[in-house]
């Protein structure tokens, strides 16, 4: 049914442009769920390795392919994003920087630090 009420509405998620602090906040949850998928994937790889060489063949081929690298790169970034924002949360829990101005200042540092850590990890991975 079409919306006919002409009165102004309060900000709605589909219309309201999320500020960066809010985007980082919801991304923390989303990356948390991705990290859960990541550790389940890790357990599956470990279980395949525990089953012997033949059992590990598919996991090994997948993890050495460009598709596997792409997935692992995504998992790495999601992990570091949650890691960096998690440290931000720990500081807030200790009462440090728990005000709007500080939150606005530290928000952009999260994706930047996560990107740097991801790149450093992958430089190590490719060099090894």
């Amino acid at each position: 049914m079409a919306w006919t009420d002409k009165r102004p509405m309060s900000p709605h998620l589909q219309i309201y442009k999320l500020p960066l602090t809010a985007l980082i906040s919801i991304s923390h949850r989303i990356t948390g769920v991705i990290n859960f998928v990541g550790i389940v994937f890790l357990v599956l790889v470990l279980a395949r390795a525990a089953g012997g060489e033949e059992s590990f063949a598919f996991a090994s081929a997948l993890l050495s392919s460009w598709f596997g690298y792409l997935v692992l790169f995504g998992f790495t970034f999601a992990l570091y994003f949650h890691f960096c924002n998690g440290i931000r949360h720990l500081f807030w829990d200790a009462g440090v920087g728990l005000d709007l101005e500080s939150a606005k200042k530290t928000a952009p540092a999260v994706p930047v630090a996560a990107a740097v850590l991801t790149l450093v990890t992958w430089i190590v991975a490719i060099a090894a």
Binding site: R29, G32, V33, N35, F36, I39, V40, L42, V43, L46, A47, A49, A50, E53, F56, A57, A59, S60, L63, S64, T76, L79, Y80, F83, G86, I87, H89, L90, D93, L117, T121, W122, V124, A125, A128
Partner: protein, 127 residues
Amino acid sequence: MNSLRTPLARVKGMGSAGEGTDHFWLQRLTAIGLVPLCIWFCFSMASLPSMDYATFTAWLGSPFTAVMMILVILVAFYHAALGLQVIVEDYIGEKGIRTASLIAIKIGCVFFAVTGVFSVLKISFAS
């Protein structure tokens, strides 16, 4: 007597939920534990020259790697169970689906954590 609450209930400060700050505190405690564990995990994995069977199992065969990997699994799944619980509690209102999801999260996390630890031990003891 001004209140119907017993002195014991008042001093425990648990409220009607019957629990205190356990969830909040363990979420933070596991988060602090995961800071060094995540760095070790990422860089140790990244340092592997390849992902073939021999390299992977030799890596897990080292006692230090095995212990660290078991810690990663246990602490990460504990942290994940607490985090997923909050997400379900926030977004799922319907009582039946909500309770079923909360049970599924706990059972799922325990299942995968036990599978992970067993796998690490099996590889580690075999090499």
